[in-house]
């Protein structure tokens, strides 16, 4: 018996030793591969990629995860380059996970980052893409957040917009004939829906929805958003005495008041499902929910701009959701560039972008048809000309998270609006101050 166990132990030991040996070999061969690749890169032989190359894509759009995987397979079929997609988003904190991934020493070839302040941490990783063939076609507004010193540090993923999407059939059922253009009218419509037994709003407690999007309404409606943002950073302006935010809170109150009963425990998926299944008539979300809505039902939807007062001057808000960043510290950066180029120039890539991802392209060279990007995409593009911008990215990481937490407390009724404004300011100071 004893002998047997010794034998076993010895066997296990040798096995693990063998395992280590193998690993060593692998890393060795990888190392020898490397010079060959960089040689390739300098001769710009990107059109004939080698077979044993893998590009890792670390991305955050859960809505396109399946389709992106299928596109990756197509790319592998065409070029032999394997594309590995890892998706973290929706309920997860993508930025934190990306940081953990990079801190652990893994350098994905392509990852997502927002522009402005969020991109700063990745300045020395983001490859300048302004020399790429597609760069000249990028819509200037979409490129803005990733333009630093004349360099283009990322490819805008798409253009997205949010406002209040409403279910046309439910509006009809409740007898709403004229669309609400002011806050008073919005509340009246909500009351009318309620009277007809329909929940007016489907809201969520997801920090990024009430933190990023809802607060951005107040930022974008400022006469000079950038001045206001800088003011809040150095402490010279505050939320409490700001006219726009004083009005903005009324809109927030209306949405929360006329939302479903369990809004405090509703996550993003449930929020969208409630809207898609016709339980609620309105939802403050963006055209990215189209795919998830389609899975449930073919809804007849329209898009309302968000009113914060009765001036009739309301907007939807558009911006590039995110950027594809090519990581210069990764092994196959050149291959990654080729992949991005393929995505926006080849027919297969373009089809996926519009038809499958339902993206409103950020490149003028891609022209989607109405039924490709869906009803919501069309609605957003129609109002895009007068749309407000996305400004939360001008604050460093941690600020929107703090805002989301404060908004959750306000939503739950544990703080009032003055405390909310204090907390919004505090969230900025906690991060900005040294």
């Amino acid at each position: 018996m004893k002998k047997l166990s010794i034998l076993l132990a010895a066997a296990i030991l040798t096995l693990t030793a063998a395992g280590c040996g193998n690993n060593g070999n692998n890393s060795g061969s990888e190392a020898t591969n490397k010079p060959a690749e960089s040689a390739n890169a300098t001769t710009e032989a990107t059109t004939t990629p080698k077979k044993n190359v893998t590009i890792k894509v670390f991305q955050f759009k859960v809505e396109i995860a399946d389709a992106l995987n299928r596109m990756a397979e197509e790319y592998e079929k065409e070029t032999g380059v394997k594309v590995e997609v890892e998706t973290h988003g929706g309920g997860e904190d993508y930025n934190a996970l990306l940081k953990a991934e990079i801190a652990s020493g893994s350098e994905p070839e392509i990852f997502n980052s927002e522009g402005y302040a969020a991109l700063e941490a990745y300045y020395d990783r983001a490859t300048d893409l302004s020399g790429e063939a597609w760069a000249k076609d990028v819509i200037p507004a979409a490129a803005g957040p990733a333009q630093v010193d004349g360099k283009l540090l990322g490819m805008p993923m798409n253009i997205e917009g949010y406002g209040i999407f409403y279910n046309k059939d439910l509006f009809e059922k409740a007898g709403i004939t004229t669309l609400p253009k002011t806050l008073t009218e919005l509340e009246a419509a909500a009351k009318q829906l309620q009277a007809a037994g329909i929940t007016p709003f489907s809201t969520t407690n997801e920090w990024w929805s009430i933190g990023h999007h809802t607060i951005n309404v107040g930022l974008a409606e400022q006469p000079d958003p950038i001045a206001f943002i800088n003011g809040t950073k150095d402490g010279s302006t505050n939320f409490k005495d700001n006219d726009v935010f004083k009005k903005w809170i009324n809109y927030v109150d209306v949405v929360f008041k006329y939302s479903q009963k369990d809004k405090l425990t509703t996550d993003y998926a449930t929020q969208v499902a409630n809207f898609a299944s016709g339980k609620a008539a309105m939802i403050q979300q963006g055209n990215w929910i189209q795919g998830d809505v389609d899975k449930v039902a073919k809804l007849n939807v329209g898009l309302l701009p968000i009113p914060i007062d009765d001036s009739g001057n309301a907007h939807i808000y558009t911006g590039p959701a995110n950027f594809w960043i090519v990581n210069s510290k990764s092994k196959n950066a050149e291959e990654a560039k080729a992949f991005l180029n393929w995505m926006v120039t080849s027919e297969t890539g373009k089809t996926y972008l519009t038809k499958e991802f339902k993206f409103i392209p950020a490149l003028t060279s891609i022209k989607p048809t109405a039924d490709e990007i869906g009803q919501m995409g069309v609605a957003v593009s129609e109002q895009a000309a007068t749309a407000g911008g996305w400004h939360w990215g001008r604050y460093p990481d941690g600020v929107p998270q703090g805002w989301g937490a404060a908004m959750q407390e306000y939503q739950g009724g544990s703080i009032d609006k003055d405390q909310l404004f204090d907390k919004l300011e505090k969230a900025i100071q906690e991060i900005v101050s040294k």
Binding site: D93, N95, A96, L97, K99, A100, I102, A103, A121, Y122, D124, N205, W207, D262, L264, T265, T266, D267, T270, P396, D397, G398, Q401, A405, A406, Q408, E409, Q411, G412, S414, E430, I431
Partner: protein, 295 residues
């Protein structure tokens, strides 16, 4: 001869302790020392060469200007006290119950132990579903107030939600330890107590309790440190929300380092956290050790 014997002994030590030591050094000791260094720096966590030495600034900031850290500290202490008491009382009762002759004893033991086999992250997601969907449905069907609460949607329900899941997960494990200890109580002592006319309650109090004291020490230690370090459950069940009302210390550290991009400050907090856990755990072991007796 002597020399050979000694080198032989060395070889034995090296073969049996060596691998463990190497792994321990690589995955515990070195990161710990690195963390100690980074707690004195300002660093965003991405590139090692960008860490800037700032001395005691991080510690200073934590003590003077970080309400959220102290709120998390308070939350964690409250959570630890509640879960340690509830878990151990429940586990001890289950242990006493399941050492008495009864039908289905082994099945019940297995069932109570099962939750421990599932990882915290997964448990968190499962219970999140139960709290937000399951409880809601039960509430709608029965109209009972308890199930109609906005579970996980308010600070109180968030706290108790975490307590419920944590207790549910750890009780089974502690129960197994208590069962082992109770079974180990010498039969003759029990019989002597019965002959002397002791009731079951008296036997438990005067004979079993003193003799299972070592198990109590172990269980208290395990639950205290477990509750104090709770992270995975926090992350998957409430994400510290609503707001930051259910943020545990470990989660606060994670958020500081990875969400706010301040690794230096985060590691400084982690160092404080380490000392807090050590002090609490050592004090607790020292206190309960004194109560242990020999059979």
């Amino acid at each position: 001869m002597n020399l050979r014997k000694r080198s032989n002994e060395w070889m034995q030590q090296l073969v049996f302790v060596g691998p463990g030591m190497i792994v321990f050094t690589i995955i515990v000791l070195i990161p710990f020392l690195l963390g100690f260094y980074f707690s004195f720096t300002e660093w965003n966590g991405l590139d090692l060469d960008k860490a800037k030495w700032i001395g005691m600034d991080n510690i200073h900031r934590i003590f003077t200007n970080d309400d959220k850290f102290w709120a998390a500290f308070k939350f964690t202490l409250k959570f630890t006290v509640v879960t340690v008491v509830v878990t151990n009382i429940l586990a001890l009762l289950l242990g006493l119950l399941l050492t008495r002759p009864m039908r289905g004893r082994n099945t019940l033991r297995t069932i109570f132990f099962l939750p421990n086999m599932i990882g915290g992250i997964l448990l968190g997601y499962i219970w999140q579903f139960i709290f937000t969907k399951g409880f809601k449905t039960i509430g709608e069907m029965t109209g009972w107030h308890f199930f109609e609460l906005p579970w996980l949607g308010t600070p109180e329900t968030g706290f108790w939600g975490l307590v419920i899941v944590f207790v549910w997960q750890t009780t089974g494990y502690m129960m197994v330890i208590y069962i082992a200890a109770i079974v180990g109580v010498p039969k003759d002592l029990m019989e002597a107590a019965t002959i002397d006319g002791a009731t079951y309650f008296q036997t438990v109090r005067k004979v079993i309790m003193p003799l299972v004291m070592p198990a109590i020490t172990v269980c208290l230690f395990l639950t205290t440190s477990g509750a104090f370090k709770m992270f995975d459950l926090n992350l998957s069940l409430t994400k510290g929300g609503p707001g930051t009302s259910t943020q545990s210390l470990a989660y606060n550290i994670y958020a500081e380092a990875l969400v706010n991009n301040r690794y230096g400050l985060g590691t400084a907090k982690a160092m404080l956290f380490f000392f807090a856990v050590s002090i609490i755990a050592v004090t607790q072991v020292w206190l309960t050790k004194r109560k242990e007796v020999e059979a």
